[in-house]
């Protein structure tokens, strides 16, 4: 073997190619998927694991999915540990957080081993949100669920393709459990195409450079990830930081984060017991949240791989809301993970003001709308996260209308496509002008989105958090504004809520989605008066509020700063 650790350029070339392969897997999934939640929203992720299941490289998409694939792969490795269990061409699947799935049953992880000359060199994996995997409610997600059995079909880390041939009975079981069998099957095949394309690329790489050099490149890439993290860790302030925070439902969540020279320890043991409602998460899910905040704090620009996360230590208590025990329902796991993520962010923000902004709307605001398309007569289901406002930072105002921190390369659904595909009207989609988020730097704006329903007997399910307690301001900046849904029936009274399960909708009912403004930073009276005037000119704040909150008289020639 001529290539070796002495040749950094070859290793670098292989590492670049790992990234390219993960990106290619992502592109393939996006282009072939059947659910808008995958192809448009891109609620999915792709990754490449080394032969031990440690993540080597990940595609674009959702940061919250990157830390899922390695955990799922390791469960496959542990379960299929006999000779002959894992063969070239095999493909495995899991969606069950009690069997390596990490998130909730809608998210199916598809995993493929990569072989070269009979040697297992890597794994490729893909995760995506599937529109309906059965269970008690359309779309499989419901706030009514009290046990995981009610949330859909469980795939406990099973083989679905055997040496290239689909295992028909398994495929049939998957199909028959869904209310949308064609879509589920189409999306599953898209995931299969994605892991196969990645595997093909890795085979080519390992053949070209040799499996030894390939393995060296992967392990040195992990060491590089760890090196980046450790150097950045050294620059963070040291100590133990704590926070208690009341949640919308009255529960108190607690976190203690200890940063020392070589560890980033997150202690979540002191938290409530798991609940009956599906707002629980697996310990792996909380780990993902810790990994995300850690990566953003240390080095957000370099690639994330298994090595990047090695300094993290997580302490949880089994049976708590952050470490649920089977058979707790976990459908809305993502809101609870976001709460932990936001809790850690808020806990550290005052101590690292140059790295962390004020709070953002911090909810997926998952919105599920279904019914019959009036023009085609077919069932439609919208599964959508929503855009909202991000917090102000020392560098400037927060961004308006972005997906929350758990999403990344995620796209909203154009009104034109929504109306055609789903047979409803989008009456408006505009910035949220409610007060909130004022400061020296302003929080970004949330949105107001009106869906008008065109047929009877549809449904609405939703679960938003940060509805009672909005995004938090920093350094004297005002808090943002809440996330909520306003239901405006054609006949009857308006209602405002954050959680709904299977609410029946009728023709000309309007579902108004309102997402919060991000938190402000600094005293509003210190805001540059010219910026205040600009905001007034742009119709974002009224002249009265400019005077009251910012002390700027827009009608006067020059502003008087209070």
């Amino acid at each position: 073997m001529t290539g070796s650790r002495q040749d950094p350029i070859t290793l670098e070339i292989i590492q670049n190619s790992l990234q390219a392969a993960a990106d290619e897997m992502f592109a393939a999934m996006k282009k072939t998927a059947m659910s808008s939640i995958i192809y448009e929203v891109l609620d999915m992720g792709t990754g490449i694991m080394d032969s031990d299941g440690e993540i080597a490289s990940s595609g674009a998409g959702i940061p919250a999915f990157i830390g899922v694939l390695d955990k799922a792969t390791r469960v496959i490795i542990r379960k299929f540990d006999q000779p002959g269990d894992v063969q070239p061409g095999d493909i495995f699947a899991t969606n069950d957080p009690y069997h390596g799935g990490v998130t909730h049953l809608n998210d199916i992880v598809v995993i493929m081993p990569v072989f070269v000359n009979g040697e297992l060199i890597a794994w490729t994996a893909n995760i995506a949100h599937h529109s309906d995997v059965g269970g008690m409610a359309p779309g499989s997600l419901t706030g009514e669920a009290t046990e995981i059995y009610q949330e859909g079909l469980r795939l406990p880390a099973v083989k679905i393709i055997d040496r290239g041939e689909p295992i028909r009975p398994v495929m049939e079981v998957i199909r028959v459990n869904s209310r949308m069998p064609d879509v589920l099957e189409g999306d599953l095949w898209a995931a299969i195409a994605s892991v196969r394309i990645g595997a093909r690329r890795l085979e080519g790489l390992a053949r070209k450079y040799g499996t030894g050099v390939f393995a060296d490149a992967v392990s040195s890439f992990m060491d590089f990830g760890e090196d980046v993290s450790r150097r950045a860790l050294a620059r963070l302030p040291k100590g133990t930081f704590e926070l208690s925070e009341e949640q919308d439902d009255g529960q108190i969540f607690n976190v203690a984060i200890t940063i020392d020279d070589d560890r980033f320890t997150v202690d979540l043991r002191n938290n409530p017991d798991q609940g009956k409602s599906p707002v629980n998460t697996s310990r792996d899910g909380v780990m993902v949240a810790a990994q995300m905040i850690f990566k953003s704090l240390t080095d957000p620009y370099s690639p994330a791989n298994g090595g990047s996360f090695r300094p993290i230590r997580l302490l949880t208590r089994e049976g708590s809301v952050f470490h649920a025990r089977e058979p707790a329902a976990i459908g809305f796991y993502y809101e609870i993970e976001l709460r932990v993520y936001d809790l850690m962010w808020r806990c550290l923000a005052p101590h690292m003001p140059d790295r962390l902004a004020a709070g953002h709307f911090a909810s997926v605001c998952g919105t599920f709308i279904g019914g019959i398309h009036p023009d085609t007569g077919r069932q439609y289901t919208i599964i959508e996260p929503q855009l909202g406002g991000w917090g102000a930072s020392r560098r400037g105002d927060g961004n308006s209308a972005m997906f929350c921190g758990f999403h990344g390369e995620t796209y909203n659904c154009p009104a034109e496509i929504n109306e055609a595909r789903n047979g409803l009207f989008v009456d408006r989609m505009e910035l949220n002008l409610e007060p909130g988020g004022e400061g020296r730097h302003m929080g970004g704006r949330g949105i107001v989105l009106d869906y008008r329903i065109r047929t009877d007997n549809g449904f609405l399910t939703a679960g938003y958090t940060r509805s009672r307690f909005p995004a938090w301001g920093l350094d004297g900046g005002h808090d943002g504004s809440p996330n909520y849904i306003e239901f405006i029936p054609k006949d009857g009274e308006r209602r405002r809520f954050a959680f709904a399960s299977g609410l029946t909708t009728s023709t000309d009912d309007v579902i108004r989605v309102v997402t919060g403004n991000g938190g402000g930073l600094g005293d509003p009276a210190e805001r540059d008066p010219d910026r205040v005037r600009e905001d007034v000119g742009n119709g974002l704040i009224s002249p009265d509020r400019a005077r009251e909150i910012f002390g700027v008289d827009v009608n006067a020639g020059a502003g008087s700063t209070g």
Partner: protein, 720 residues
Amino acid sequence: MPGKTIRVAADVGGTFTDLVCFETDAESGQSTVRTAKADTTPPDYEIGVMNVLEKSGTDPAGVNVLVHGTTVVINALTERRGVRVGLITTEGFRDTLEIARGNRPDFFNLHYRKPPPFVPRRLRRELPGRMSYRGEEMRPLDLSGLDGIIADFQGEGVQAVAICFLHSYADPSHEVAAEAAVRDLWPEVSVVSSHRIAREWREYERCNTAVLSAYVQPVAERYLDRLRDRFEDRGFAGSLYVMQSNCGVDSLEAVSRIPITMVESGPASGVWGAAELGRLIGESNILALDIGGTTAKCALVEGGNVRIMTDYWIERDRTSAGYPIMVPVVDLVEIGNGGGSIAWVDDFGKLHVGPRSAGAVPGPAAYGRGGTDATTTDANLWLGRINRDHFCDGEVVADMAAVERTITDVGRRLGVDTDDAARGIVRIANNNMVNALKLVSLNRGFDPRDFTLVAFGGGGGMHAVALAKELGVRKVVVPESASVFAAWGMMMSDLRRDYFVTRLADLTPDEAAGIEAAYAEAVARAIADFESEGVSPERVTVTRFGKFRYRNQEHTTEIELDADPVSEASVGAIADRFHDAYEREYTYRLDAPVEMVGLHLVASAEVGKLEMTDRESTGASAEIAQKPGRTVDFASEGDHAATVYDGSRLEPGMRFAGPAIVEAPGTTIVIHPGDRVEIDGYRNVVIQVSDANGKEFPGSGAGAGTDEATGGSEGKGGVT
């Protein structure tokens, strides 16, 4: 000028304005060719065009056909030098432009900055009125507020108005009415409606397209007017065409109305040149590679066809969502990896090349203009791949001390010596380009081994053979006019328009009549557009494409259809073609209903483009073109004594073998050991690439690779 036809292509690039002039004798059909380069002269680009014309000794009065390509649009966009735009849109949607799509590609970065909209909120105004996705009027357009809006726009110094209403792709009548009303109220202002540019859905993308088009419209129109005036002042009476991003040319009048279609005209002409060159030499599958000073661009030509798409974005990369422009643009991948790309070592000792470029000023260290960073060009000089004694065609004395200093500096940070650092730079640059070439080939289900690599731009020939070896490509063609190839491609372009129309239908016999009606309507529109510019229908060639998908999918696969009308009988064959193409790209097919999402029509008419002549072999030996040889480091294959040829003295039929270097005007071609070269009848350098897996390269006999250098190579074959 009787008996002679003079065609001129002038291509304004970022640094240089290139010219190619063909003078063809009507009797003999023989052409004489002149090329010239002059500096680009922003913001008055027409001055550079006149300068290069003068430099080449071409009299505008004698020119029959002038084809022009310009960066005026992309520069106005990226340098934010357009005009103030006011937007009029559907009630409830003034913030669409700012909300955009909500994506955050740089997702761990909590300080991500969303690209700000080109129109501030106070200049984004609404009118009531609503169409459905099927083009039915749900609510009539209410223009009563327009007076007030226009008055505000005038008070704010707006110079161009963009109009975009929801579902205007399905029925544009509200946009048409609003546009007329604006012109009525304010005749001097320039107005751009979204449906005139794009007839496809996605309101943010279409709205942003209308806004960016309005933003550059007055700038581009003024420029094109000035250019025409200059030419006419000098007696020009020929036809003037402008290069488009879809590989075609269009009339100056049409382009002045919607100039945004020029946004990628330079890269498009290079890709088109590669396709046309393929037609000449009988190669229909081509990987086109254009390496310039700051970027490398790649595109795929399959079966002689370029792929034209409408999902183009500017300023989009891993750290920014960028801005969409929904116009027909040739499908290409562009990376920040050209001759001037800077090599740098990060905090963790990892070597990178690009995307930052040394540009023209200070340029590579070798320019001796104070450049302190090593670039790919510097590494190529250090390794002897570029002739240090004949740098930039002998116009620049290479500052080798600066080259050594900067590359040694890179080496120190990597912990290697200067030679290894230079090899590393070339290998990383090559790898960046290999990944880009994979994106346009493997990533789309095409095997690069089935393609011929056509390499051009100043740096194409320098890297092409190494890239071909990596990809298993067996044949590389470096065209005669490689350094001004985009201008040559322009000259070969047809008058071409791409029509994309969103039209949803199930692909079933029942729907065949409706689908055919949509095609017929688009064909009629294309014919009428050409006719209005004096091109008669019999000169127009129409090619039909359709965009299809499995029901419930969103993204589509484009399939070429027969020229015959779509009928009940033909939908089955169309579906079969879709299934095949889909499986090739995505590894599986489904037994699911197929939907049509839209049509794509290509209408073209020849405008008297150039006929090239294939010349006989002269029988001369390549030895007469030899220059003094030198030792060249081939980076992955080590040092070899290379024969050096003067490209301007190569003649049809000459043959030679690598290791060799061809020094042609504006470019250097690196031919690796074991490769064979023949000069074809068009004076293209055609290279048969040897097998990349062989450890031993036959032939050269001299300068076997040093152990150190081969030891540092990719360990080919991988098994020992």
